[in-house]
């Protein structure tokens, strides 16, 4: 049986956006950038743990209406 050893990251808060440009913009905006940490691909990044609600409020102030799952 082949071995697929991997690391499982659980409870990871994520932000997913529709376009890479939008994530670039959010990661360079001083209001949202501090709360967005590791980028996993061009449209997905890990949010600072425990900071989803803070990021949600900041995004709403920027005129966004994020879907929260």
């Amino acid at each position: 049986m082949p071995k697929y050893k991997a690391k499982l990251h659980t409870g990871v808060p994520l932000i997913e956006v529709a376009t890479p440009l939008l994530l670039d913009t959010l990661m360079s905006n001083p209001r949202t950038a501090p709360l967005i940490l590791t980028r996993l691909d061009d449209r997905t990044a890990i949010v600072a743990p425990g900071k989803i609600d803070e990021l949600l409020e900041r995004l709403k102030k920027l005129g966004q209406l994020p879907k929260v799952l």
């Binding site: 697929y4 991997a6 994520l14 940490l37 890990i46 600072a48 989803i52 209406l65 994020p66």
Partner: protein, 743 residues
């Protein structure tokens, strides 16, 4: 579970049990246990129970019927008041302490037992509350009370009532507001938190002191509604009793028939203990207010049903005074004066007492009666209120409505009658048919995003729908107004439905086509929601390279590929344990893997989480395998929008020791919040000869030259006193030399 007398024998006195046994045909000469056994046996025999009931006096039988109608338990005071209201004679009517005597007489007749306080080990009967055995109640018929024939009155100038749909609209709106707030938080003592009530009040657009409902003053509506919902078990404490939450979701409650919904809240209002319709002093006698509400409901229930006639408030008040005015009062039951000999001998004394009593009644019970009709009985659509155009000049201490509100019409109430809803609620046995609304076109969406809702056409499920997606802005007797906003639509969609479902329901509930601009904007708002998704808790599998990831997917691992070596697992996807070599849970504190010295040099241990490297890069400069916090790196991070607290929190979480204080000062200063420090050159006097040093330091003459002692052989010299000190030292014969302190 019904009551069975044998479970309570141990808490009854021997004489009471003996008297009870006598009613069941067991007379003297038996032991206590024989009495108990005999009663227990008799209660198992329906024929014996029927024989006992057949031998009861009319008032005793009625007492059982009333108890049955209230679920087996009845307040002695309410029982006595009800009998008096119905003009049913009983021998305890005019005796002092008559309620207690009355209760004990019913117990001795073998048909009731007193409620016993269950938290006490000793005999502690409570004659205020009586309970009957379920097997006795099973043999008792339904209570058949005589009608109350109040004098009818002419139709009023105008009238006001709330249709069933409006009532349900209010109930569901209050429930939705509670749901939106996540419940009503409780203090440690179990009372609702003031702040929680304020939020609820704000959501309902009510004022703290009260609100006008169709022009009728409703005092402290947040407290009243919450108390009634709680008493009706619509609002219940959560497991740790820290918050009152809805017992059922709003949509579940909304799907029940109107009568069930309103009836449940009505049952709550009749027993609320921490709210009053009106109080002359702010203090309320809880039991008397509950008795008053139940008596008033009883009167309404006994009004003729086959008529649409109106009854005057004055006649109702007079009727109640005539029937129960000599025993009932909101501030406490009155000892009847009729028992006193002087009242019997001198009828004019009794007349004077009654006149005084009537004056009190006018100022107190009548005011309450008016407010009871204008508050919960009107709110719940049970009565239609008749109004006069010229308000009577009745004395009132009721709080006036705020100037910003329309005039308070409560004082204009002159008459009332039961509504269709009221009849159906008070007479469930008649199974009156109420028209229940089913979803249909019931509103008009206007180009300014406001929705005009016709309450006589809207179904409860549609009210729940509107409450989810729009803000309530106004409620009239027959219409309600909502407003669609970006935020309200967003919040509605966030509760779990799709944009298309929302637009479809909005369209099918509308009487005319949706304005084009409204639909365009709603679609734009919905579209914005597709731009960004925040996921609170996800599971991500990290592979060492792309090839292994692809191989795992070929073997059935499902999820969304992120980059070239991550897979975002679908919700609830189990992962074969044998694949997982390490688990990292981001809900828990991550590994403390850093150490740092005072000058910001950071050493790291190898960790598996996906955050550390990003955070190190964000705040530090790489130094070979290690990292360093520098003024430049911290300043750069601050410029990018980070806050000094972010780095302090990060270090606190990830350091395996406490943060050096000096570095904390540096980080704070580098972030632009430099502390204030002052520096100054000072003059000191040093003398290594201890005897001489002490002589100088303790000298009254020299003391004023020094600011303090810095060390066992060093004194701090006041700069302004330097010359004087030199002169004094020269006078002492001590040559002064320039001092140098050596390490």
């Amino acid at each position: 579970m019904g009551v069975r007398f044998e479970n309570y024998f141990t808490r009854l006195t021997a004489p009471l049990i003996a008297d009870m046994a006598k009613c069941w045909g067991i007379d003297k000469g038996y032991s206590q246990s024989q009495f108990k056994n005999a009663i227990t046996r008799a209660l198992k025999d329906p024929q014996q129970i029927q024989r006992l009931i057949a031998g009861l006096q009319p008032y005793e039988r009625l007492a059982l019927e009333i108890a049955k109608s209230q679920g087996g338990q009845v307040s002695t005071s309410i029982l006595a008041t009800t009998l008096q209201l119905l003009e049913v004679e009983h021998p305890f009517k005019v005796q002092y302490n008559s309620d207690s005597d009355f209760a004990q007489a019913l117990i001795r007749r073998g048909i009731f037992i007193p409620e016993v306080r269950s938290n006490t080990l000793y005999y502690n009967p409570n004659y205020d509350l009586l309970m009957s055995d379920e097997r006795i109640l099973a043999q008792v018929g339904e209570a058949k009370f005589p009608q109350i024939l109040l004098k009818t009155t002419s139709s009023p100038d105008t009238s006001s009532y709330r249709p069933a749909a409006s009532v349900v609209f209010s109930i569901l709106g209050f429930m939705q507001a509670i749901a939106d707030l996540g419940g009503v938080k409780l203090t440690k003592s179990g009372t609702p938190q003031v702040n929680s009530f304020r939020k609820l009040m704000k959501a309902q657009r009510w004022e703290e002191t009260g609100t006008l409902i169709d022009g009728f003053w409703f005092p402290q509506p947040t407290e009243g509604m919450a108390a009634a919902f709680n008493a009706a078990s619509v609002l219940i404490p959560n497991d740790d009793e820290s918050i009152l939450v809805l017992a059922n979701p709003v949509e579940v409650f909304a799907n029940r028939p109107y009568l069930t919904q309103v009836g449940q809240i009505l049952s709550g209002f009749t027993v609320v203990s921490n709210w009053a319709e009106w109080s002359p002093s702010g203090w309320i006698n809880v039991e008397r207010y509950i008795e008053a509400r139940q008596t008033l409901l009883q009167v309404l229930k006994l009004l003729p049903l086959d008529t649409q006639d109106w009854y005057s408030l004055d006649d109702l008040e007079k009727f109640l005074f005539e029937r129960i005015g000599d025993r009932f009062s909101l501030v406490g039951n009155l000892p009847s004066p009729l028992q006193f000999k002087k009242f019997v001998d001198q009828p004019e004394l009794a007349q004077r007492w009654r006149e005084e009593r009537q004056k009190d009644w006018q100022n107190r019970e009548k005011q309450w009666l008016r407010q009871a009709l204008a508050t919960w009985l009107y709110l719940l659509g049970i009565v239609e209120l008749g109004l006069t155009r010229s308000a009577p000049t009745l004395p009132t201490t009721k709080k006036k409505s705020p100037e910003s509100l329309p005039p308070n019409q409560t004082d204009a109430i002159v008459s009332f009658r039961l509504t269709e809803l009221g009849r159906a609620l008070l007479h469930p046995e008649l199974a009156l048919h109420l028209v229940e609304m089913t979803p249909q076109p019931a509103w008009i969406v206007q180009p300014n995003f406001e929705i005009l809702v016709y309450l006589d056409q809207v179904a409860p499920s549609q009210i729940v729908f509107l409450d989810r997606y729009a803000e309530r802005i106004d409620l009239q007797q027959h219409t309600a107004q909502y407003r669609l906003t970006r935020e309200s639509v967003y919040q509605g969609l966030e509760r779990g439905s799709s944009l298309e479902e929302f637009i479809d329901l909005l369209r099918t509930g509308a009487k005319v086509a949706l304005p084009q601009n409204v639909e365009i904007d709603i679609r734009q708002w919905g579209g914005l929601r597709e731009q960004i998704t925040l996921r609170r808790h996800t599971q991500i599998v990290e592979f060492s390279d792309s090839q292994i990831m692809q191989a795992a997917m070929a073997k059935g691992l499902k999820g969304k590929i992120l980059g070239d070596r991550f897979i975002l697992l679908e919700a609830n996807t189990p992962l074969t344990d044998s694949w997982v070599e390490q688990r990292i849970n981001y809900d828990r504190p991550l590994a403390s893997c850093l150490s740092v010295n005072e000058i910001g040099e950071v050493k790291t241990q190898e960790v598996a989480d996906l955050l550390l490297e990003t955070q190190l890069k964000r705040w530090m400069e790489p130094r070979g395998k290690n990292w360093a916090l520098t003024q430049a790196s911290v300043t750069q991070a601050i410029r990018s929008g980070n806050k000094v607290n972010d780095i302090l929190e990060f270090l606190e979480e990830r350091l395996n020791h406490s943060l050096p204080q000096l570095l904390k000062v540096a980080l704070t200063a580098w972030s632009g919040r430099a502390p204030s420090v002052e520096m100054e050159e000072i003059i000191v006097l040093r003398c290594i000869n201890a005897e001489v040093f002490t002589a100088i330091a303790k000298s009254k003459k020299l003391r004023s030259h020094f600011a303090g002692q810095l060390a066992p052989d060093i004194l701090l010299v006041k700069r302004s006193q330097l010359q004087k000190l030199k002169q004094d030292l020269e006078w002492l014969g001590i040559p002064v030399e320039q001092l140098t302190i050596q390490d």
